[in-house]
């Protein structure tokens, strides 16, 4: 039987038919976009790890899974259940590119295709349910080509607004009239589109095309309402009157004067008539309506008088507010924006020789060494100068295309600086760095390349200034050069000095660039190159976003007209698309701040803000931006402030997306989790037993997390039960010996020393036998007093009379073998020296152990000690019990992380070994997760430190404490891999745990502290499942 791809790659017989089943997701319940992506990623990862992971078969299987994920994502998007996962969005973008490629002439528009449409569908037609009936099932047989313009816009609005809700209803109602679609029909259309999306196959791979055409339709359609039409008519009439009057007045003839008199008289009379009608005319219908209203019975609810139309509520039944009068957005014949032109071939060619820059700079170091580090005019110095200036000039002209060579060039420049000696030489070297005003003025370079040179120079100099490994003299020379160029001098710790300074220099040129675009001395090519440099220099999204904000700011303040099509508005739209309006990252805060600043800045006219807000509204990628956020062209300060406030409220907050990949719990288990955590935090930890107990409980609660993560409710519940079980133990249970044997007690009413006195009183064998028999006759006796025990033990081992000694041994074995005092006395009696064979057997019987060998005294002591300890209540028993709990919980947790062999060990294993196994299990799990960069540290470093700590640990608690930092780090890694946005908070917890650990007074404190910190991190990864859909 041949093996199916499912069996080969996933270990299952066949892929379930449902999309959820295919991805291993629960068949019921609401899904999250992130959940779908996580499931997909896991399966694709399994496929990729297979030795045949690159085969066509594997790719087909992965594609099937991706299609299942896409269908689920579409359902989620239409249901409005949270934002689309970035991975899904990227996949959709890839499909769009693929579909664009397929759509080339002669490919998709093949006449053979049953779905091929010779031309765009007629506008008035809507897809709606009627059209859906064409196929055998709903949606089947339809493709994106069947959609009308309005369908496309509606579909795009639905997707970006998170489904059919108040926002999408408001937006669609606004545009429905312009397409001849009645508001009452809107819901039917939406229903049809929803079915089309969820059941149909036609949209697959074409969503991007639909979105792009929707954008074009949205931006380009006249969308002229009745009011606009009336305004235009009035305007035309007045223009005509104006022309006539101008001709008549300009004529100066008597006839003209006569005509003017007649015209003005008629005009005045018409005004009088109009005023008379307004003041004295009949109220007509208005009065009738008022009368009717006044006659309405008092107390009738408004809703009864005017029940809301079905269209006034959204899919949740929530009321949709009446649509306010909105400002008409700016219109353009085509959507503003542009596609950046590719990097010029000359630049690419120059960058391809980047290795030569480094070689020249290294050669310059050798030449400089030959000239003793001086740029003094000697031949070697001249050669060094030529090499440095040549290499840097070439690098400055092409660095954005040079990739990693740029950093190498900066490093090589540093080496040249280190080789330079003396202030003059350093000054000369810094002047060789391109980008000074004299340098950019030279030559016939295009404007964008001059900007590149400035940015490169700023980056190089800043790299030297900030790097503490450069000597103060070198740093001072670089600082002076920055001062000469009027560039900001970076101070303190800067993560990426080149990027910060280069982007700063580029940002400083943005206003000039915007002005040059207005005046025509720069083009969109210059903007593309500027943006290319920003992208190459910026090492963080924040830098890129700040640069885009600076670009928008420059455009808004530039002098040219913004409401007319042209490169300026194209630049504005280009920068808008570069910004992050999702609220996902911390960077979006600066976007929110910038929007508010522009709205409130009186130096930016409202007409320009009108264009900006219109473009934001038109960008269907900014789902939350609605037409109600478009500023009117005549808006005053109050209106601007009001809009700024509304915009701030509408801007998505980070908290709305943070739970994207969290482990979601139903309210009840989440409440149980929270209660358990509260209880853990309030546990006392005054001594080592309590701390070890708390560590065991923390491990149990970690098991609960793992159970929730794996969807194993039983395991989760069992983890939480540990808390109750451990805390319900009585104090005696902790300290009592595990074997349960109770120690013998001395007979009541017999004082210690009685036997000693009898023994001493008469040394005859008969008297001593009598004394021994009295010992046997003591009622309910299990032990002797210390004094009697000492005498009995000594004589049992060494009494000269054999019959007395044997009788004494027999009594002790029969009655006092569980007497702690007797056993201790025997132990001490052994210190006297070697005993005979009889003594060996006697001790063995007393200690319940076999005592043998030439050096049996050592064995005997050990056996006696073990028995003594096993009879006593002690704190050591409590420690053993707590450590057994730790071992049990850690082994169960390790099993939950895939180490099934650890689960078998249970509480019998040594706790430090089980914790080590748990650390290994978590490491193996963490190794399967993807993180852009290691967090909180690379696995190798975590393991190195773990080994180092093991080598320092001496006691059991220290050995346990040597394992827990790795457990904490891996917990951090696992949660951060699910929710990268939590990294900063997790890092804080990890740092606090490290400090706590360094200051801990005991190893058990370290153990407990680490596990508590791990628990805090896992807690961040849990979130309550929303009970109803959020937003709308």
């Amino acid at each position: 039987m041949s093996m199916t791809p499912e069996k080969r790659f996933l270990g299952i017989d066949r892929l379930p038919s449902s999309d959820r089943g295919a991805l291993g997701l629960p068949e019921d319940g609401q899904l999250r976009s992130g959940q779908v992506e996580a499931a997909l990623e896991q399966l694709v990862d399994i496929i990729a790890r297979h030795p045949l992971g690159g085969s066509a078969e594997a790719k087909r299987l992965a594609a099937r899974l991706e299609h299942s994920a896409d269908r689920l994502q579409a359902e989620i998007a239409l249901a409005g259940k949270g934002p689309l996962h970035p991975a899904a969005a990227r996949r959709a973008a890839r499909r769009l590119q693929a579909s664009s490629a397929d759509a080339a002439p002669g490919t998709s528009a093949s006449p053979a295709s049953p779905f091929a449409a010779p031309s765009a569908p007629a506008r008035p037609a809507v897809v709606a349910p009627a059209a859906l009936g064409r196929g055998t099932g709903a949606g089947v047989g339809l493709t994106a080509d069947d959609l009308t313009d309005f369908d496309r816009v509606a579909l795009a609005v639905l997707v970006v607004s998170g489904g059919w809700n108040a926002t999408s209803a408001k937006r669609l109602a606004t545009i429905a009239g312009e397409y001849g679609v009645a508001v009452a029909d809107l819901e039917k259309i939406v229903l049809g589109l929803t079915q089309f999306l969820s059941e149909g196959e036609g949209l697959r791979g074409a969503m991007g095309e639909v979105g792009e055409s929707a954008r074009t339709t949205w931006m380009a359609s006249p969308r002229q309402g009745r009011v606009d039409a009336a305004e235009n008519a009035v305007e035309r009439v007045f223009s005509r009157i104006n022309d006539v009057l101008r001709d008549e007045v300009g004529g100066g003839s008597d006839a003209a004067r006569m005509r003017l008199t007649v015209i003005f008289t008629l005009f005045a009379l018409s005004w009088v008539a109009a005023l008379g009608y307004i003041f004295f005319g009949s109220s007509g219908k208005g009065d009738a309506a008022e009368d009717a209203a006044s006659r309405a019975p008092v107390g009738v609810a408004v809703s009864e008088v005017a029940p809301p139309a079905r269209g006034d509520v959204d899919a949740n039944g929530a009321s949709v507010a009446p649509i306010d009068a909105l400002a008409a957005p700016a219109k353009f014949p085509r959507p503003p924006g542009f596609t950046p032109s590719p990097t010029p071939p000359a630049v690419i060619e120059s960058a391809s020789a980047a290795a030569g820059w480094i070689a020249d700079l290294e050669e310059a170091v050798r030449a400089l060494d030959a000239s003793k580090g001086r740029f003094d005019g000697g031949s070697d110095a001249e050669r060094a100068t030529a090499l440095v200036s040549g290499a840097l000039a070439r690098a400055a002209d092409a660095w954005p295309a040079a990739g990693g060579y740029r950093a190498d060039a900066v490093r090589a420049l540093g080496a040249v600086a280190r080789a330079s000696l003396g202030a003059d030489s350093l000054r000369r070297l810094m002047r060789l760095v391109p980008g000074s005003s004299a340098d950019v003025a030279l030559g016939t370079r295009p404007a964008w390349q001059r900007v590149w040179r400035q940015a490169f120079g700023a980056g190089c100099l800043a790299s030297i200034v900030v790097d503490p490994t450069f000597s103060p003299e070198i740093a001072a020379a670089a600082r002076e050069e920055l001062r000469q160029r009027n560039l900001p001098i970076p101070r303190g710790k800067v993560a990426d000095p080149f990027g910060t300074a280069a982007v700063g220099a580029l940002v400083a040129t943005a206003p000039a660039l915007a002005e040059q675009i207005v005046f025509g001395s720069s083009s969109l090519d210059d903007v593309a190159r500027w943006n290319e440099a920003v992208r190459a220099a910026a090492s963080t999204p924040r830098m890129r976003i700040d640069a885009a904000i600076a670009g928008i700011d420059a455009v808004l303040r530039a002098p040219g007209a913004l409401d007319k099509p042209g490169p300026l508005v194209d630049t504005l739209a280009f920068f808008i698309r570069a910004l992050d309006f999702t609220g996902r990252g911390a960077e979006s805060e600066s976007v929110r701040g910038a929007l508010a600043t522009w709205l409130l800045d009186k130096n930016i006219p409202p007409t320009r803000i009108w264009v900006l807000t219109s473009l934001l509204d038109a960008d269907l990628g900014i789902a939350w931006y609605g037409p109600d956020l478009v500023l009117a062209t005549n808006a005053g300060d109050d209106a601007r402030a009001d809009l700024a406030e509304r915009l701030d409220r509408a801007f998505p907050r980070l908290t709305t997306t943070i739970a994207g990949e969290a482990v979601l719990l139903d309210p009840e288990p989440y409440q149980a989790w929270r209660l358990a955590l509260d209880e853990v935090w309030s546990l006392e930890s005054g001594n080592e037993v309590e701390r070890l107990r708390n560590a065991a409980i923390a491990l149990g609660v970690m098991r609960a997390y793992r159970g929730h993560e794996r969807g194993d409710a039983r395991s989760a519940q069992s983890g939480l039960l540990v808390l109750e079980e451990v805390l319900s133990r009585e104090p005696e249970e902790w300290i009592s010996p595990p074997a349960g044997v109770r120690p013998g007690l001395p007979a009541s009413g017999v004082s210690d020393g009685t036997f000693d006195a009898e023994w001493r009183a008469n040394s005859s064998a008969a008297a001593r036998l009598e004394a021994v028999r009295n010992l046997r006759a003591r009622p309910a006796a299990g032990d002797l007093g210390p004094r009697d025990a000492q005498v009995a033990a000594r004589e049992a081992l060494r009494a000269s009379a054999a019959d007395v000694r044997q009788e004494l041994c027999a009594v002790l074995m029969d009655r006092y073998s569980n007497g702690p005092e007797v056993l201790r006395a025997l132990l001490d009696a052994l210190a006297e020296g070697r005993g005979n064979e009889e003594a060996r057997l006697f001790i063995g019987t007393m200690a319940d152990a076999t005592v043998a060998g030439g050096d049996w005294i050592a064995d005997a002591r050990r056996a006696l000690l073990t028995k003594i300890v096993s009879l006593e209540d002690s704190a050591a028993n409590a420690v053993d019990l707590a450590c057994a709990d730790i071992a049990e919980q850690a082994s169960a947790l390790a099993a939950a992380f895939g180490r099934m062999d650890a689960g078998a060990a249970g509480s019998a294993a040594r706790p430090e070994r089980v914790l080590a196994t748990l650390g290994d299990a978590m490491r193996d799990e963490a190794a399967t997760r993807f993180l852009a960069e290691p967090f909180p540290a690379p696995v190798e470093e975590i393991e190195r430190l773990r080994n180092a700590r093991r080598s320092l640990a001496r006691s059991v608690t220290q050995r346990m404490a040597a394992e827990t930092p790795a457990i904490l780090d891996y917990a951090a890694m696992l949660v951060a891999s699910r929710q990268p946005s939590l990294q900063s908070r997790i890092a804080e917890i990890v740092a606090a745990a490290r400090a706590l650990r360094a200051a801990a007074p005991s190893a058990s404190d370290q153990l407990m502290g680490d596990l508590y910190s791990a628990l805090s991190i896992l807690d961040l990864g849990l979130a309550p499942k929303p009970t109803e859909r959020a937003g709308g």
Binding site: R418, A475, R824, D828, A831, A858, R997
Partner: protein, 254 residues
């Protein structure tokens, strides 16, 4: 006569100059003799700091020079922890003022660049253990003289030094108690002391496989030595952002 006068004038001056340059005359002069080499140090070459630190440590004649050596070792370790951290920390350990400080430095050496050796807990040779066990028994029975005698056998004294803290709050306390016991006196009545003797002896006899409870009795609950490598000043005692020797002190490049 003239020669005598010249001698009288020159001699005090020469003596004063000699005194000024004599070893141990002043801390600053001692640091001053390294100035030239210190000024040539460059953080790009952290090994230079370590090598100069070794030279300074070898030639150190006063506290100022020893401090300078410590600073050089610290900078070497802080500037290149991965390569030189362990060596620098081991070098710093030789300047430790006490055992605790030394243990901390050695632990830091392990954490900065160790490859995971094996630390051993308390272990005892069989004869050593038997002798100490006898001493504990005699001590429990109130026979201090014989307990002291047992301690003198087979290196039991040395083992007592290791486990004395767990046994009686210190080896010297145990010895002192033995000395103060009168011949023929009563057995030890303190239940806690009796119990500690039992548990410590059993813990020693069970070796590495002892239960956690016994281990805690013997080894205690001292924290595992930990250093925060993210805090270079706390770890190395120097500020790595000030690696340049300028004007007789460490400075940054601003």
């Amino acid at each position: 006569m003239v020669r005598m006068l010249r001698f009288l004038l020159v001699a005090p001056l020469a003596i004063a100059l000699l005194a000024l340059h004599a070893p141990g005359s002043s801390p600053s002069s001692h640091r001053g003799r390294w100035d030239e080499r210190l000024a040539r140090l460059d953080p790009v070459r952290p090994l230079d700091y370590l090598e100069l630190g070794e030279e300074v440590a070898d030639a150190a004649e006063n506290e100022a020079e020893r401090r300078l050596a410590r600073e050089l070792f610290g900078l070497a370790g802080a500037l290149d922890t991965q390569r030189l951290g362990r060596s620098a920390m081991l070098a710093l350990a030789q300047f430790a003022a006490n055992d605790e400080e030394r243990a901390r430095a050695l632990a830091a050496a392990e954490l900065t660049g160790g490859r995971g050796g094996t630390a051993r807990g308390v272990r005892a040779e069989p004869a050593q253990l038997e002798a100490l066990s006898r001493a504990i028994s005699f001590h429990r029975r109130g026979d201090g003289r014989r307990a002291l005698g047992a301690l003198k056998q087979d290196g039991a004294d040395a083992l007592l030094d290791v486990v004395g803290e767990a046994l009686a709050g210190g080896a010297d306390v145990f010895r002192e108690e033995c000395r103060s016991m009168r011949a023929g006196g009563p057995a030890l009545a303190d239940a806690d002391a009796v119990g500690r003797g039992i548990y410590v002896e059993l813990a020693l006899r069970q070796g590495e496989l002892r239960s956690p409870g016994l281990d805690l009795v013997l080894e205690g609950d001292a924290p595992l030595l930990e250093i925060d490598l993210a805090d270079p000043i706390g770890t190395w005692g120097v500020d790595p952002s000030r690696p340049w020797w300028r004007g007789g002190k460490w400075s940054g490049n601003e």
